[in-house]
Symmetry: C2
Subunit: 238 residues, 2 copies
């Protein structure tokens, strides 16, 4: 019934540099670009494999990571790719089912130098036209899920430095969701939420009025979350 199936993970790693959303890609043997990934081993479960791939590529252990979905078209890996996989991993596989994850990381100097070492690239998401196998489909699905999740949970802060300005937060939303944001109403929302707190510090060296730095207080968020359990629970347009 089943011949040699393998299970792999592929990770869509998102980063934000203040201007646009980027995604980590790998150039395999000078061929086409692909997402970082790996076959799973006998001893590990799939989330562990995803964390392993991420640690290897970014050097980070605490990364926001979420399962996207499974990609299982029997023809998703062509003969040539299959040959590469069998050679690289030393297996005899006829089919690879992959579990896709998306990850969010803060783009700082440390991670940039680590990825550079691994011959990985941060590419602007909008400029990615094609990827190996079905990796473009995976990226598209990751983008859709990221948009959705960013509107429903406070994960934007996983992409921003610990201290950020309200403008940076708004710019991130603009970049990911492609929406216009009214500066004044956005501020009100952010400041009023109760868990985004001013640090007292200010921007320096910007060609306009320097903005205050804020931090996301996870602890307070949890508290507010419990309070807010509102019964206006149904909102079908989301």
């Amino acid at each position: 019934m089943q011949t040699n199936h393998s299970v792999s993970v592929d990770c869509v790693v998102f980063g934000f540099d203040g201007r646009s959303l980027k995604c980590l890609l790998i150039k395999r043997d000078g061929q086409d670009l692909k997402l970082p990934g790996s076959l799973i081993t006998d001893q590990e479960d799939i989330p562990s494999a995803a964390y392993r791939v991420l640690a290897e590529m970014t050097g980070l252990r605490d990364v926001f990571l979420k399962e996207l979905s499974v990609f299982s078209d029997p023809a998703r890996v062509g003969d040539k790719d299959l040959e590469w996989i069998n050679h690289f991993y030393g297996v005899q596989t006829t089919r690879v089912v992959t579990v896709a994850y998306y990850a969010l990381v803060k783009l700082d100097n440390k991670i940039m130098s680590h990825t550079l070492e691994k011959e990985a690239f941060w590419k602007e998401v909008v400029s990615i036209t094609s990827l190996a196998m079905d990796h473009k489909d995976i990226l598209n699905k990751a983008l859709a899920m990221l948009s959705r999740d960013m509107t429903h949970s406070p994960i934007a802060f996983e992409l921003l430095p610990r201290k950020f300005t309200i403008r940076e937060l708004a710019d991130l939303y603009k970049a990911v969701l492609g929406v216009e944001i009214d500066n004044r109403n956005f501020r009100k929302k952010i400041i009023g939420c109760g868990y985004i707190l001013p640090t007292g510090e200010k921007e320096k060296g910007v060609a306009h009025k320097p903005a205050a730095y804020y931090v996301f207080d996870k602890h307070r968020y949890r508290k507010e979350e419990k309070k807010t359990r509102k019964l206006n629970f149904i909102n079908w347009n989301e």
Copy 2:
């Protein structure tokens, strides 16, 4: 690196009988209860396998089906269960990674007689204490996702008959989310949304004022959905 892995699907099939949320279970060889599922074949992708399982168990082709997540603990299938799987499917598997789905069906006479034939049971979700392997974990995760999805998209109608009363809809939300609902404000919301339309028919033989029947108009929903693209987009408590 990888020995004989298999990939399976397991389906959490939800139904609503007007009183409580039910889940379809199978009694395997007079042993403990489990979710309907199957190993995938070489030729099919995973969604196809899920639809196949569902068609077999319910007789239905058009079922609401959504991927939940992957369960991949190397020890999730014990030796005894592994033995059963290898015997039943005629394979030599050392590990089964499963992709869980949840499905929503309308409990009518047709489906009830079909499942009865297949020796499957509709069990009240709250009364399910333990299941084979990690199937209880799968059920729990399905419940969490169902709650979430029911608040964000109009999937409740997949569980209700085509024509339903506003009370039935409210009862479903009460049963799944465990919330109290104010009859009057709920009606306002439903009637005002623009895509839940009265059929002109009324309940018969109920021991109180008969309620009007409504239908969910998918077409109008899509239209409203586009209009509603509101910029009050961020709501982190969801």
